[in-house]
């Protein structure tokens, strides 16, 4: 499982779509099982941190093999992306079912008091916008997954990426601005009066 995962991460990093697909399916299943297990063990009023789930998934995967395991930073990035899928799916289901026995997913992180997102209906759209952002700038999209869905703090992400947390904070603002613009559009863009191609600097 582990070597496989390691390879999948490498392949997905190289842009192998099938590998990425397999990776997400695998991580999604992992996270889902963990969440379900917590759900079975505990009461309906369960509050589950996404960081907890992601960390736990990591421990589970890492614990399965005695030798080396996948690059932690990459693992968390992909797991946070899978977490996003899980959260969005869960919210959709919950809307559909509206019954008891559900678990609640919140973000918990060390230095950010975190537990909110845009209104529920927007989460799906946010997911789409994030995929657009990924095409534009993979690292920014990954940051949103890690922080917003994975619940990792800026300090942790900075450590994972080996950059300063100041850089992460700036990137976070940047990512929010771009996503916000993607979701809300702008007067200019909505009017369709501008061809973005023509905005390229005269090179």
């Amino acid at each position: 499982m582990n070597e496989q995962l390691d390879r999948l991460i490498q392949d997905a990093d190289r842009g192998d779509v099938a590998a990425a697909e397999a990776l997400f399916t695998s991580l999604y299943r992992e996270l889902h099982e963990l969440a379900e297990r917590h759900l079975r063990k505990s009461s309906p009023e369960l509050t589950l941190g996404t960081t907890t789930l992601v960390h736990e998934a990591y421990l589970t995967v890492a614990g399965r093999s005695s030798a080396s395991f996948p690059d932690r930073a990459r693992f968390f990035a992909y797991a946070s992306r899978a977490m996003r899928g899980l959260i969005i799916d869960y919210l959709r289901q919950r809307r559909a079912k509206k019954r008891g026995g559900e678990f609640q997913i919140t973000q918990v992180s060390d230095d950010v008091v975190a537990s909110a997102g845009p209104p529920e209906t927007d989460l799906g759209l946010l997911g789409d916008a994030l995929e657009e952002l990924r095409a534009l700038d993979g690292s920014l999209a990954e940051l949103v997954d890690l922080h917003f869905f994975g619940g990792f703090s800026f300090v942790e992400i900075a450590a994972l990426r080996g950059v300063s947390d100041r850089t992460i904070q700036r990137d976070w603002r940047k990512a929010r601005l771009v996503l916000h613009r993607t979701l809300n559009g702008s007067e200019v863009a909505r009017s369709g009066s501008i061809n973005l191609e023509s905005l390229l600097p005269e090179a």
């Binding site: 909110a116 947390d165 979701l183």
Partner: protein, 882 residues
Amino acid sequence: MTVLKKQFWTAISPLLDQALEMTEPERESWLNEMAQTSQTLVDEIRAILSGATAMSRDGFLEPSSPAAVATTLPSLAGQPIGAYTLDAPIGQGGMGSVWRAHRSDGRYHGSVAIKFLNLALIGRVGEQRFTHEGTALARLAHLNIARLLDAGVSAGGQPYLVLDYIEGTRIDRYCSEHNLGIPERLRLFGQVLAAVAHAHANLVVHRDLKPSNILVTADGQVKLLDFGIAKLLASDFDRPDLTDVGGRALTPEYAAPEQVSGDPITTATDVYSLGVLLYVLLSGRHPTAPGATSTAEHLRGILETEPASLPLGDLGTIVSKALKKPPGERYPSVTALADDIARYQNHEPVAARPDSWSYRTAKFIRRHRLGVAVAAAVFVLLLGATVVTRRQIVIAREERDHAVYETNRAEALREFQSLMMSQVGAKPTTMHELLDKGQALLQGQFGADHNVLIPMLAELGTRYGEIGDEKTEATLMARADSLATADDDKSILWALDCPYAGKLIDQGKLDEARVRLDRAIAGLRTVARRDLRTDSGCLLMKAQLYEQLKQPDSAVVNAAAGIALLEEAKVTRSLQYAAALNTYASVLEAAGQLRRALAVRQRAAAGLDSIGRGQTSSMLAILGNMAGTLQTLGEIAAAREAARKAVLRMGGGGDSTRIHPVMAINMGGMAAAGGEPDSAAYWYRRAAAEAQRLGQVDWVFIGLSGEARALFRARRVKEGQAVMAEALKVNALRPGAKPRDTLLLQAWAAYGAGDHVASYRAFRQLLETDGYFAKKQRTGLDVTLTLAAAEALASQLPDTALRFARDAVVMAKVDSLAATRSSYVGTAQLVIARALRAKGDVAAARATADSALRALSFGLGPNAPLTKEAEQLVRELLGTRD
């Protein structure tokens, strides 16, 4: 949805980065300027930036906007918890969530706050800390502290606390919203002081005093909240530091220096935080990091920045005193601070005094020390990230999941280690300082958790050893050992035995080391879940022991077995494997298998490069050793190349760069072998100096004696004698001092003085000591033989010279990659050629001189002085008739 095009993004992304780093006015003029070249681009940037206002208004992707919580997440509203019914979430923090609730039976109409422990924290530590807040609060009954009303565990097993529900405004906002003057602000602050003093009187230190934990109600009453990380004094010594184990980072803006550095927390910690709060309330500015945006800046400020004193006369002095970096220089208690403020309010002279001259001087030094600490403070945070994982480990252990625990402890150690390692390439000097800080940090973070503390101490110790500070290594190892012994935790003790044995071997305590190793190897076999890596470490250590015991064959067998275990465990892409190969190679070398040793070292170096660890101290050690092996093989030119690479990886070979003594010794040896005694003297001197700094007496001696030899060889006799006297003094201090070393120096002294007969006799005596004449020793004597031969020749004993030199060639050939390229073969041949010429056999001399020239050109390089000598001899012999 508006979608930006990829190529457009490439242009805009770096500009956005720039824009986000600017202040509003800067950005305006920057954009205006750019608009002159590309209006459209600027329009797009403005459009993106224009979202900022709406974004923060809506709390887009923003953590902690309660409205969003209520709408987004499945609500627990209406759920009964004990005697209460939940109404709405009011907050979310590291410890869990907080809800507003009311009594279900309506007996009490007001609201309460119910605090849940986050599920992730359920387990020993989390619950302990949670009950802890309950215990802390239960002790307190004060008008200005939110009361604990009830506590319990929900049907689902989730612990909760019921607290006063406080409707209020953060103290700093309250002050600015109400436009309060200094006297009013001081009166509010007085209530805070009263609350904290009450807590202190009950032996509770809050430790997280900050505006968001201090609310002011509509009627102007201060309420202190959140004793989640409060520390109980006195009774607290026997438990882990809950704040840190809980994985919660301190609040950087209000943390005291001792919280950052991991020093003990006392009531003075709260005095500092209160000083920060008062500073902020009075000036609207942060004392140590005004305008800081990152945690790192805050930490740097806490440790380094002396706050600008407030221009408020005595009040400014009071604040400064509360903000002193050393806890001992602050007000001894909150009451003392409150008293001084009261004196100020009553216009009496205050107790605080402005900085004295001596304090300023002392500060200068401290600041220098702390300048170093900052890199480490950032490192605290990085380590903090590890701690989060560690907390999971604690939980995992609770669930008896031993495997996960073990794997992750190893992971934490590795992370700690690689973090430190990663620093070495760029700046070796900070490595030591980082380790120092790591050590302090270890105390703070894991001081009470021996499961982590002990292996980390050993780990840190090893790192110190790697950078040459074997003294500290020994100290840390001994500490880890005494802790493990006191705990009587066998598995930790056994795991520690092996690295500790390494230390004992270094100290020459071979018997003790053997006892340890045997105990560990036998003990580890009985452990249910064997860790092959630990077992491998023990075998390799045993190999080193055998090497010291002069049983090279047993050493090779043990080392090979250790390597095999690592291969079995499939950890070949690791630092540990590279280090193991390094040991294996050294053992092979001691067994005289130089060529295999070289191949193993090359494999180790290639392995490190392939896993991206080419800049680590392990790599330096391997390259340094490779240079040593090549040197022994007579491949001086290649050895120098390897050494040069190693020195370059260390950050350059300038005089001021720190260099490992062993590396400098090798450099000296290579220069000497190449016939460059002045350069050799330089490197040996540096080796001695570096070794002195590290307190390594063996290396000091090797450095000094090398320098003396080089000086004699350069005919700098007087200097040589001075250094030699020093070397002999040091030799007397060494536990392993050998008469041979003295003899060698005397031989060289005679050589330097030009007394060939005396030096010939001395070298001959050395050969005697080494067992040459008794035919006990048949390898490794080529250098001594060559020297004896050269001095015999100079003493008009050409036949003796020939005999020694020919034996030298035989021995040097054994220890070479190829005879035709060994500098030692070449040097001995050079002596033979001279001896043959002296005997009048010009043809034979010519042939041998040709061989010598060829071997030296390869082994030393074409421009080495000895190669030039050989060239000269060949030329002379060409001009001589047979």
